[in-house]
C-alpha cells in the first residue's frame, strides 16, 4: 500500500533537488570563508577588467584633448586620481559581492539543513516500517 506521507516527503525532496539542490550542494561543499573569498577574487578580476575597459573607452572619448594636453598635464596627479577611482570602484563592487554571496551561502546552508532533516525523516519512515 502506498504511504502517502512518504510520497509527499519524497516529492518535496525531489522538487528541491531538481531546482536548487545541485547548486546548494556545490555551495555547501565549501567553508563559508573559502566560498566568499573565491567569489571576491573573481569579482576582483571582473571589476579590474571592467574598470580598465571603462578607462579605455574614456581615453578614446577624450582622445583629441588627451593628445593635445599629454605633455603639459601632471601625470602624477592623473595617476593618483586613476588609482583612487579604481580603489573606490573596487571597494564598492567587492562590498556588493560580499553581501550577495554571504546571503546566497546562508540561504543555501539553511536549505541544505532542511534537506538533510527531511532525508532523516524519510529514512526514519523506512526504519519504522521494517521494525513493524
Amino acid at each position: 500500500m502506498i504511504n502517502e506521507s512518504r510520497v509527499r516527503l519524497m516529492t518535496g525532496l525531489a522538487v528541491y533537488e531538481a531546482r536548487e539542490g545541485n547548486l546548494d550542494e556545490r555551495i555547501g561543499s565549501h567553508f563559508r570563508g573559502d566560498y566568499i573569498g573565491g567569489q571576491m577574487l573573481t569579482s576582483f578580476v571582473c571589476a579590474t577588467l571592467a574598470f580598465l575597459l571603462g578607462g579605455l573607452a574614456l581615453c578614446f572619448y577624450h582622445f583629441e584633448e588627451l593628445m593635445l594636453a599629454i605633455y603639459s598635464m601632471d601625470l602624477t596627479q592623473v595617476a593618483v586620481r586613476f588609482v583612487v577611482s579604481y580603489l573606490l570602484f573596487l571597494l564598492a563592487f567587492l562590498l556588493i559581492t560580499y553581501f550577495v554571496y554571504s546571503y546566497r551561502y546562508n540561504r543555501a546552508k539553511t536549505r541544505l539543513e532542511w534537506y538533510y532533516r527531511e532525508l532523516k525523516r524519510l529514512s526514519g519512515t523506512y526504519r519504522r516500517e521494517q521494525e513493524y
Binding site: 571582473c46 575597459l53 573607452a57 578614446f60 583629441e64
Partner: protein
C-alpha cells in the same frame, strides 16, 4: 469571484500539466519577437535578419538559461552594429563586456526581463517589467529593467542616426563618431529618466509588497504605477523629454493591470478570514496572524439515485405484488419496470 477563482484554478492546472511545453514555448516566442525587434531597428547584417536565422537563434535561446539568452541577444546586437559602423559596434561591445563583468557575473535569475524588454517596448508596455520584477524577483530587477531600457534606447538612437553613424571617414572621423554614439547614450535624457523610473519602480514595488499590510501586493502594483507616472511627469517637466504622457499613462495603466493579474495568480489571499492566534512555548509568546489563501471550492455534485434500493424487474418477471410501471421524468427512453408494493 468564485468564477474567477475557478478560471484561475483551471489555468493553473492546465499550466502544471503542460509546464514542460508552455515554458519553452513562451521563451521561444519572447526570444523570437525580441530578435525580430532587433532586426527591425538595427538589422544591418543580412545573415542574421532572415526568418530562418532568427528562428534558429530563438531556438538556441530557448535551450539555454535566461542569462545566456540575454548574452546571445547582446551578441546579435553587437554583430548588427559592427555591420553598420565599427564605432557603434565598439561602444556596444564595451557596454556589453562591462555588463557581463559586473552584472551577469552574479548569474541573476531575472535576466528574462532583459530578453523580454524589446518585446515590451514594441507593444508599448515597458513599464510592466519593473512591476513584474519587483513582484516576482526582487529589488535587483531594477538593474535588469534599466538595462532593458538602455538597450532599446541604444537601438533606437542608432536607427534614427544610421546615416550619420554609417558614413565612412578617416581616423579623426572615427573618434568623432565614437563620441557621437557615446553622447547619444549618455546625453539621452529620455532614456535616463525612463531608466531611473523603472529602477525606482522595481525597488518600490518590492519594498511595498514586503510590508505586513492587507492587499500588500495590489498596493505595491498601484504604488509602482503611481511612482512611474510621477517620475515620468517630473522628468518631462524638468528636462523636456520626448515622452508622450498619454501613451505613458496608457502603458502604465496596462502594466498595472498585468501586475494585478500576476498578483491574482501568485498571491491571492482572503483578507476577510484573517485569524489571529496566540500561543507560547518555553521561551516565547507567539502572536500569529494567519491569512488564508483564496481557493476555489468546487461545488460538490450529489447524485440522487431514486431506484437504487428497489428491485426493478422486467415486465415479464413481475409477478409478486406488481401493480404498475413507472418512467423516469425527462428521460427520452422511458425506463419501464415494476416496484414491489411492500416497499
Amino acid at each position: 469571484m468564485n468564477n474567477l477563482l475557478e478560471i484561475r484554478d483551471r489555468i493553473i492546472s492546465v499550466y502544471t500539466q503542460y509546464e514542460n511545453f508552455f515554458v519553452p514555448a513562451f521563451r521561444f516566442l519572447v526570444s523570437y519577437l525580441s530578435l525580430l525587434y532587433i532586426s527591425s531597428r538595427i538589422g544591418y547584417q543580412e545573415v542574421l535578419t532572415g526568418a530562418l536565422p532568427s528562428l534558429l537563434i530563438a531556438l538556441i535561446c530557448t535551450l539555454v538559461p535566461a542569462s545566456a539568452a540575454a548574452v546571445i541577444l547582446g551578441l546579435v546586437m553587437i554583430i548588427q552594429l559592427f555591420s553598420l559602423a565599427l564605432e557603434a559596434g565598439l561602444v556596444a561591445l564595451i557596454l556589453f563586456l562591462v555588463l557581463c563583468l559586473l552584472y551577469f557575473r552574479f548569474s541573476p535569475k531575472d535576466a528574462m526581463l532583459i530578453v523580454m524588454s524589446p518585446v515590451c517596448h514594441a507593444i508599448g508596455i515597458p513599464y510592466v517589467l519593473p512591476i513584474a520584477g519587483g513582484l516576482v524577483y526582487g529589488p535587483v530587477s531594477a538593474v535588469a529593467s534599466a538595462i532593458g531600457v538602455i538597450m532599446v534606447s541604444f537601438m533606437n538612437f542608432v536607427h534614427d542616426n544610421e546615416t550619420t553613424i554609417g558614413t565612412t571617414g578617416g581616423d579623426e572621423d572615427a573618434v568623432t563618431k565614437f563620441r557621437f554614439v557615446v553622447d547619444g547614450i549618455a546625453q539621452n535624457r529620455t532614456m535616463i529618466v525612463t531608466a531611473a523610473a523603472v529602477a525606482l519602480v522595481a525597488v518600490v514595488v518590492y519594498a511595498v509588497r514586503r510590508l505586513r499590510i492587507r492587499y500588500a501586493w495590489y498596493i505595491a502594483v498601484l504604488a509602482g504605477a503611481v511612482v512611474e507616472l510621477i517620475v515620468l511627469l517630473v522628468g518631462d517637466m524638468l528636462y523636456a523629454i520626448s515622452i508622450s504622457i498619454g501613451a505613458a499613462f496608457l502603458g502604465v495603466a496596462l502594466s498595472a493591470l498585468i501586475g494585478c493579474g500576476i498578483t491574482f495568480f501568485l498571491f491571492n489571499l482572503d483578507y476577510t478570514r484573517i485569524e489571529n492566534v496566540q500561543f507560547e512555548d518555553d521561551d516565547y509568546y507567539y502572536y500569529v496572524k494567519a491569512v488564508p489563501k483564496n481557493v476555489y471550492i468546487a461545488p460538490r455534485r450529489t447524485v440522487k439515485k431514486i431506484n437504487t434500493s428497489r428491485h426493478i424487474r422486467g415486465g415479464a418477471d413481475a409477478e409478486d405484488g406488481a401493480f404498475g410501471t413507472f418512467a423516469e421524468p425527462g428521460a427520452e427512453d422511458a425506463t419501464t419496470g415494476t416496484w414491489d408494493r411492500n416497499e
